[in-house]
Subunit: 349 residues, 2 copies
């Protein structure tokens, strides 16, 4: 099925008022300021390590690397290292490796999901093919481990090799649950805990592990990253049915058209009538999507407050992430890391 | 294009007399005896680490793991560790990780090559799909690094993370050269040096690295593995046009039908007339394969002695591998590792 443009003038999607009246990007600013200098170093390493004699590798890698992702995950590594007072420089290489791991995942994800676009550009697989996307993803993952080995911290290697396996496990779980409308909320949370939250968690924990900080601090940062990651993914899920998706280069309803099971669907299905469940089974499970079905899906979500509940859940995980940082004394770093939660929860794209 | 059965009673393929009149599997026996006990440990670890709550992972992984590969690469790690007198047990975990890396590569290869069979069974992607093959490959690679981090040897991590990146780089090189009949022998050697020889080399070197042996020994084992790997791949290439391929579960001509550039094709193209080059361009480059084309391809290889030359090259790399072990004093371990070269060069499937 090809994505369709939705006709009509009425605003599409569930409109939910923001908790915080400020522009959400203001909440990202303290973090951006905190990590600005180190992010320059990360960018240099990324450019350097995406080099290969095989032209296809830098071409394809740059397509994605240059496409303006927020680089939230490496920011978490940098911020965590600063939070615990790390004074070395190796956190920058760890953060660059985290971004490579993320980029590898995106390349493979787009192949698995058969996505046509990524960050508002054509997905790499649409330009260079699925084969190149699989192999360049493998290369970037290999490079990430090479960089981590160069840094030489076994605790960091343990955290991030663990994350790599768990992410893949989560992706397989998602594939196995695909189009299964009876997926439970618990099963879904286990999926996003693995496929999304594991790298947020590993990114944050690594920042303290590189500084050889005590277990209590590692645990706190792991919990922060994990809950922020779950919150981040739930907001993503909600935005696909409600957000200012055009600004993200996505159109509303991508998940719907791909038959993806996300929390808004799970809740609508659980709270729905038999007739409504038949609708979800036809569209999401059987993939038979007609004109007007996306509007119906959004209507059902409104009726059952599925988006509101998804956002509520996201705010709860955000609150857990916030509290996780409570073991650290107040500092500008801690504030910045907490503000990022606000950004993630309130973002509109 | 679907594989076709070749009709006719005449023996297909180039028949090349063996250098060594013995059954090639006899040359594998000293190695099998040497590693037998440790291979039991490897098998237990492999079974244990392919476990996941996500059913699809062990199902798919076992399909490949149980399908009776020779496990040549982990054998090299074990043998190298024994050669240098390592008395610990961690080489077994390193060897299991090597096999996981290899299995991950096979899963991704079959997706990239669109192969239908692997080791005489249906390829995993034909049963569980390309998506699951990509993701379970990622999981196995993640598990491999996890296992290596558990072992905790940074030199081994350096060697094998390097191998992971180089293998992927080689696969991308191969993809970029696909169907390009003007690929040079040098370019082709660079491809197989990366995609095949890097893991043989990393497997052998790791066996000594885990024992913290001096650089001279690491270099020797790296060279042994690299040249053995190149030799192994060249023999594979030759067997696809000449071997007892049915015993490997392959049919003669798989590479031809997939339009793969291998050394027999490169040599036939270089040595051929304009008319012959037009044949290779139509079949390999343009993928227009008719009945009788495989027979013609084999005929041209016979005419230009392309298989003989490929085998000759393979024997040369085998000889380099043999000499590389010269820095080690004579021992049953060294003999077994040298006999493996004989096995690889003389095998008929």
């Amino acid at each position: 099925m090809k994505p369709k443009q939705i006709s009509g003038e009425a605003p599409l999607g569930v409109v939910v008022p923001l908790e915080d009246a400020r522009d959400p990007s203001e909440s990202l600013k303290p973090m951006l300021d905190l990590v600005a200098e180190d992010m320059g170093g990360i960018n240099r390493i990324i450019l350097d390590k995406a080099i290969s004699d095989v032209d296809l590798i830098p071409e394809l890698a740059h397509h994605l690397i240059d496409s303006g992702g927020k680089r939230l995950r490496p920011m978490l590594t940098i911020a965590a290292a600063k939070l615990v007072g790390f004074t070395g420089t190796s956190h920058i290489r760890v953060a660059a490796a985290v971004e490579f791991m993320h980029t590898a995942t995106l390349l493979h994800d787009d192949v698995v999901d058969e996505s046509n676009t990524r960050r508002g550009k054509r997905a790499a697989r649409m330009i260079w093919g699925n084969q190149a996307s699989v192999l360049v993803g493998d290369f970037l993952l290999g490079q990430a481990f090479r960089m981590l080995v160069e840094v030489g911290s076994l605790p960091v290697l343990r955290i991030l090799s663990n994350a790599a396996a768990v992410i893949a496990e989560g992706e397989v779980m998602q594939l196995a649950a695909a189009k299964n409308t009876s997926t439970t909320e618990d099963a879904y949370l286990a999926i996003i805990d693995a496929k999304t939250a594991a790298l947020f968690s590993g990114a944050a924990e690594s920042g303290a592990a590189i500084a050889n900080r005590p277990t209590e601090e590692l645990d706190a940062l792991r919990s922060y990253g994990k809950n922020l990651g779950i919150s981040f993914q739930l907001i993503d899920d909600a935005l696909d049915y409600s957000g200012d998706a055009a600004r993200l280069g996505k159109s509303i309803g991508d998940d719907f058209r791909e038959g993806k099971i996300t929390l808004p669907v799970i809740l609508s299905y659980r709270r729905g009538s038999d007739k409504e469940r038949a609708f979800w089974n036809r569209t999401i499970a059987a993939g038979d999507i007609q004109d007007g079905d996306l509007e119906t899906a959004i209507q059902l979500m409104k009726k059952h407050k599925a988006i509101e509940s998804t956002l509520e859940r996201a705010r709860t995980y955000g609150a857990i992430a916030r509290d996780a940082l409570g073991v650290f004394p107040a500092s500008p770093e801690r504030d910045a890391m907490r503000e990022v939660i606000t950004f993630c929860v309130n973002r509109t794209h």
